[in-house]
Symmetry: C2
């Protein structure tokens, strides 16, 4: 139940990070693109096939040292249904290597529609009495603006299928405060109010650990709020974007963790995917090894702040 599987992976690898798989064509070595374009054409299909090859290489290089991947749905939808097929194949491949997969889709709706999203990404879909996995991810990011009607259907699917969700609380972008930092009439911020709702929703998804299956997205770019929320939300596991390219460093994300080094997973996307571009003279065919080196550097940097991760 809940995030127990994710937490086990973090402890096993002693690595509280997740590799974001948000591949743009620009991030790919030419040889991968050329091969795919030759086979499928210079079009959405060719691009989508190139992305899958790239992801596969990254997963092969990372699965024993990084516990999770986080594909961002937008970068797959860009390539139409071909791209969405690559998303599905990427999830399947990462799971076959034992990784925990978080689909970053920020989905939101109500009632049976939200249930459809939850079944799509975390559960199963019934066709004539038989059930099929559409995407089969382990966790999904969710936008909670619609309230309980938009979250409860996901919690129910998570309960049945041993999955989890992360609700957006305080996002990493500069303008996140326009709404999220506004003060309500009880003197709490909107992001804190959303956080309190996560604690409440999480009561239905308790696992073996302290943390429920209802996590929260809190940006690395707001270290003060990270610390505030860690104290205020003791059962809410954090997914922390904004490390690296967006400006957050290891010191900034340290407040997201509890005294056991648990309670958060830090995402890096471009830092890992584009590491090969930063190593001078590197053969592009070794892009995945460069990603592995960056993942190890990031792990060591973060662990130097939080120490050994204890179960």
């Amino acid at each position: 139940m809940s995030f127990d599987r994710l937490i086990k992976g973090i402890i096993k690898t002693q690595n509280p990070t997740v590799a974001g798989l948000d591949p743009k064509l620009d991030f790919l070595p030419d040889y991968i693109k050329e091969e795919a374009f030759a086979k499928y054409g210079k079009n959405l299909e060719g691009a989508a096939e190139a992305l899958f090859e790239f992801n596969k290489g990254l997963i092969d290089a990372l699965y024993d040292i990084v516990p999770a991947v986080k594909p961002q749905a937008a970068y797959y939808e860009m390539y139409g249904w071909y791209g969405v097929r690559t998303l599905q194949k990427t999830i399947e491949y990462a799971k076959s290597k034992g990784m925990f997969v978080i689909t970053d889709g920020k989905r939101n709706d109500i009632g049976t529609t939200m249930q459809a999203y939850a079944n799509a990404h975390l559960g199963t879909t019934e066709v004539e009495g038989e059930r099929f996995e559409a995407f089969g991810s382990d966790a999904l990011t969710v936008n909670g603006y619609l309230g309980t009607d938009g979250v409860k259907p996901v919690v129910d699917v998570c309960k049945e299928n041993d999955k989890g969700l992360f609700i957006l609380i305080k996002t990493s972008n500069p303008s996140s405060g326009e709404l999220q930092d506004r003060i309500l009439d009880d003197n709490l911020t909107i992001y804190r109010t959303m956080g309190d709702m996560c604690e409440k929703w999480g009561e239905e998804l308790k696992g073996e650990s302290l943390y429920s299956g209802v996590g929260a997205v809190v940006g690395a770019t707001y270290p003060e709020q990270l610390g505030e929320l860690r104290k205020a939300l003791p059962h809410t596991f954090f997914l922390v974007p904004g490390y690296g390219a967006q400006g957050g460093g290891a010191k900034d994300v340290a407040p997201a963790f509890d005294e056991n080094g648990l309670g958060a997973i830090i995402n890096s996307s471009r830092g890992i995917m584009c590491a090969w571009k930063k190593e001078e003279g590197l053969n592009p065919k070794e892009y995945a090894q460069a990603a592995r080196r960056e993942a190890i550097r990031m792990r060591d940097e973060i662990v130097s702040y939080i120490g050994e991760i204890k179960g």
Copy 2:
């Protein structure tokens, strides 16, 4: 620019409604399912192909009297990438019949990621210097919880491609008030604050009409707020869900319109899609004709409250 094309369609058909295409397998006549399953198997692919046939029949029966369709992404994602392919084919087919297509995806993210969603659904994707339409819809629903960083990229893509967006303000579900009705420290509700942001964002997407290309989603189930927001947001076009199955009636949605009968489009999904189940003794092969009859009934009911729609 903006919603001018949608508004022209509404005036031409004298019908301010949109047919929601949220097809569940249960909504389909058996003969469509049987044919698709025989050809593609009783699986996600067979289901997705059946949904497309069903949609096609509905579009054929509605395109001359209903100006727009609104496919809900969740019901397609449920069937994996096969379902997403049906979404793309449905959009293409509806556009070929001259309908305005609103993809109800409630997408949200920031910066280049939000740009990827906008390109996916409303713009084009570049592959080696050539640009391809991934989904090619006319408008997209967007969740604005992340602030301007999450909306500006969509506005930019809309500007370039003559498209529009609808931001969630006050949703139709019972628990929408948990967050959206909360009062901020300036005594305004969150939904009103989000509405004011729509007016501001809309300044960049002005068209020929009074209304900008940044619309808002306001539920039919909250008629009082509909009226309040119509007055407060004179340049914001409303997409109104919740009519019919969710309990809103024609009287409830009347306050969404201005004195010219413009300013809003009312969605009906189940009411239209499942009309054939309510006509006793109907041959299921005539499901689309039943949908047409219900669409005409709905149009006449709404127009009886708002009168002639003037350009």
